[in-house]
Symmetry: D2
Subunit: 338 residues, 4 copies
Amino acid sequence: MIVVLKPNPNQAQLDNLVDWLKKHEITVHTSNGASQVLLGLVGDTSVLDIDLIKALDIVEDVKRIQEPYKAANRKFHPLDTVIDINGVKVGGGHFAMIAGPCSIETEEQIIEVARAVKAAGANLLRGGAFKPRTSPYSFQGLRGQGLKLLLEAKKDTGLPVVTEIMDLSQLDLFEDVDVIQVGARNMQNFELLKALGHVDKPVLLKRGLANTYQELLMSAEYIMSGGNEKVMLCERGIRSFETYTRNILDIGAVPVLHKLSHLPVIIDPSHATGMSWMVPTMALGAAAAGADGLIIEVHNDPAHAWCDGPQSLTPEAFAELAPKVKALRKLVVDNAQD
Amino acid sequence: MIVVLKPNPNQAQLDNLVDWLKKHEITVHTSNGASQVLLGLVGDTSVLDIDLIKALDIVEDVKRIQEPYKAANRKFHPLDTVIDINGVKVGGGHFAMIAGPCSIETEEQIIEVARAVKAAGANLLRGGAFKPRTSPYSFQGLRGQGLKLLLEAKKDTGLPVVTEIMDLSQLDLFEDVDVIQVGARNMQNFELLKALGHVDKPVLLKRGLANTYQELLMSAEYIMSGGNEKVMLCERGIRSFETYTRNILDIGAVPVLHKLSHLPVIIDPSHATGMSWMVPTMALGAAAAGADGLIIEVHNDPAHAWCDGPQSLTPEAFAELAPKVKALRKLVVDNAQD
Amino acid sequence: MIVVLKPNPNQAQLDNLVDWLKKHEITVHTSNGASQVLLGLVGDTSVLDIDLIKALDIVEDVKRIQEPYKAANRKFHPLDTVIDINGVKVGGGHFAMIAGPCSIETEEQIIEVARAVKAAGANLLRGGAFKPRTSPYSFQGLRGQGLKLLLEAKKDTGLPVVTEIMDLSQLDLFEDVDVIQVGARNMQNFELLKALGHVDKPVLLKRGLANTYQELLMSAEYIMSGGNEKVMLCERGIRSFETYTRNILDIGAVPVLHKLSHLPVIIDPSHATGMSWMVPTMALGAAAAGADGLIIEVHNDPAHAWCDGPQSLTPEAFAELAPKVKALRKLVVDNAQD
Amino acid sequence: MIVVLKPNPNQAQLDNLVDWLKKHEITVHTSNGASQVLLGLVGDTSVLDIDLIKALDIVEDVKRIQEPYKAANRKFHPLDTVIDINGVKVGGGHFAMIAGPCSIETEEQIIEVARAVKAAGANLLRGGAFKPRTSPYSFQGLRGQGLKLLLEAKKDTGLPVVTEIMDLSQLDLFEDVDVIQVGARNMQNFELLKALGHVDKPVLLKRGLANTYQELLMSAEYIMSGGNEKVMLCERGIRSFETYTRNILDIGAVPVLHKLSHLPVIIDPSHATGMSWMVPTMALGAAAAGADGLIIEVHNDPAHAWCDGPQSLTPEAFAELAPKVKALRKLVVDNAQD
């Protein structure tokens, strides 16, 4: 961390700052220029509150050199994290092919889709029971009943299941769920993240619509600093000035998050684009960029889906896509596993 | 709502759609062009799921004409809503001057600030007990203990208090709080919004960093459709490509939200800019644009504040600003009340 | 185009509007609802000025159904445009592998790089002579002298060349250039676009940092409506709230522009990311999404490049990437040509 | 400028870098930490190409401390620049009230509007002759003929005139124009900016839709470094995710640009919002935030304006607004002049 002092700083205040930093076990290197003095802080600066230092009278600016996240930081954990979801591995060359409907609707629907996506090559089943909807007048999901149906489909197919939690009061219902998803709108629901830090289950953490890579990693850090290191990061589109697609899928998140962190990176082309005709193309693009997994909406009858029909693939379209993804990964991903 | 059909739509499917719309008490007007057919839907289209219609094979596009919010919509409630907060009125010409520290730190601090802002012209006291922080390593607020100190300051000064809730499990602690604040990161925490719909207290709902006016009004609608119509909207800066200021304060939100809705609109220049030297200027700009209130961070010792010191005014600076706001409102706001 | 009228529109004004539309050979379909009247306009609405209609007293809103571009619109030109650049075809399954240095520096440099990228599989050579730089104090390119060196490299290798024009006064110098590039900052330099409409050379039109797909296509329309239909669209990153990478590469532009238009779509991963280590990954992602070409910065000595060294690949890194792109295209692009 | 070196940098390369910096008259302060070495560069770093340094093998990151603009920088020119436009002063407490139609249409129209806005308190007349339009099929302005009509209105009313240039080839036509406007889309048309650096006329430089404050100041620097120091900065709305208004008016640009630069700051509420009903409110907000001027579209018959009618005020509405702006400025701007 670099502290840029204002010209001619008050010496007593400067001494106070240096003493305070030393108490936090930070070594201070002073660099006296003609018109400005810089302090170089060396040590574990992640514990320092940057805003506190910025607020001091003698300080003009503070610039971070080190990242403020530790548990999620590749610098301290050079090897890829591999997460084991009841036998399905994700990360370090292992690929998560997560598929299923936006909303769980009926037992027949979820079981039919689950069987179809398993046959086509999915190794994890997704399905929404608690649905975050912009409008209070839209369908809010089958909630507890939906979770039961999802677990029926798990039993039927053997696929581990991924589903979204919307509030920490729902946590008890997730006992038999394999992966807990945190939605984009809850990425900075810090009370929920803290609670998930004490759960022994993988968490699929979606990036918020306008959140930076660093904020995503800080939210992962909330979970990891509580003791739960099984976090998968998920890019699902960011908000921009363009309105033709629902969001812009930031495929660059894959190499960037791989560089900054050791956690697996999953891409959600369905929510990012909001249109099924774009999903296969963007799925291939994400896989070619080295994503550790895809989460794709598949519905047996998209035109009558209870929500987000326009972005769902048919089982047939998914069955055409999945083997292409596999073949492409063999070609471009160095450590791709079967 | 306008439904644009694809060329040569299947007649049986079109009949099905029209029948389904009639069941929802929607009247359908068909407009046959040379190359396209349009359906104009008349009735309460807020109950229709636009995505569902878009997913149909015969539909090319759907465009909303009516807003999807009702309770918050000025079309159905032409008069300004005036909210009474234990005697302090907000909206319809009545101005909320909300001030106080970012974080409640000690009894002395909160009482000293409360007395100072009251003397300077504040009519509501703000102070944070539960603090949403990007980093798990930053100060998280005094939480329950902080609420107690805030209520001490309320007793001491008589100022009604505004403070943020971060999770619905905290609701019981807010019994003596006058206004419950929902932070920007929780604007679409729908479970929390639903719970607040059943509370008999005003809610200060902050706009998310990258949320549209319509999404903000839909979140207000979550609260109002539950029965609690005392919602104040708050603009606190939106995220953009510019990094010099923390966010961009969208003062245009004042006239737009006033046009679309009857709810009061409060502006938070402290969080929007993140720098105290900009706060008075932006506060004056917001007041000149007709805001129904300001929420401003004031700290007796900003350089040693436990959080967000850089954006806090001193009590002296606030005392200089408050009368200017009042004088300016008399000049430009037609129905400005004392 | 749909015109939404205000409630109870003045009949005389409405008649005027309808007459005026008929003069433009637009057929008007009126749809009378309980509370609103809609006009459906059928015909060539691209000639109507939407703002003019919006300004009328009786009009509440106007919504476009048809796209405002014609020459660039796939609806009217279903087949992919294939552009022939002195024997190198681009589009319709033919791939442009454009490589070369950011700036032309010396004869030795441009010839060495040109030979290296040709050997590695490039079929077009890029190099900047006129350089748009944010700062007036940065290197502005060798300008006319740079163009001469680039043409030397063309003679030496036989590769057609692509280089940027910054002002229409430079046009005479581009006589022997094969493809004229319009940079992102000039995407809406309409006087330049009009001039390029009268040139018989392919134009590589880069999307502005915050321009929509439709605006890009309207800028293509400026060139095409002048008579020059040889336009290649180029996505080079859009500006967002994220600052870790220079821009966000919008790979979704590939399928969207392919759907809306018949023009080839080229991706520039070098400028989009600004960091060479991300370039190969993003290039593969773009190729997997079906791009018709890549434009990649390659420099024989990136650490001493006169500009944009950090985003340039070495010839060795490019030679590793190019065959991977080719193999991947064979796997996922249906009509990929050799 | 701070250079962050990679761990264990090669000593020979480091010596080379330090020597090279010394040749540019930069003093280097080295700060050796446990795990990293920082170089603090002191001197005129605006001449250094930050990208060049970043590209070096031994460098991890480079952070600017000093702004890269000099002529536009308030640090080197503490006093407000006051620009004299044929007797009308702008800046340093002097206010520019610029009004007139979007497009010049006829002699009657421009003279009628010019007289009306002068009577209402405008001291500068605006009017567009060369019109940048997104579509090649929209009205492109009367061009040379429009300039002639504008100069007629100048003769008639004595108001100095402001009008937009779109290409440097048009410069000869601007001889009798008082202020040359550079539009948002041309903010980084560097060849045009360079040409304007050699003109002895004030330039009104509009901020691009997605350009930062620093980029705007660097574009001003292009003009000023050529010798023309009479630059007025203009904020006219930035692009965001919100689509209800055309753009977001960033009123915060006023205090920020005043802090960073000594140049006058003008606000354009007409283009920013695109809707006339918002213009007076936003004009008042901008004036309260300390803007040095407003540029407002006024048309005698907005419903029949040839372009941008929806955002034009009537002369009556402008006559109501102008005195409010004046009264408000007296109240809140310390050095407001009559």
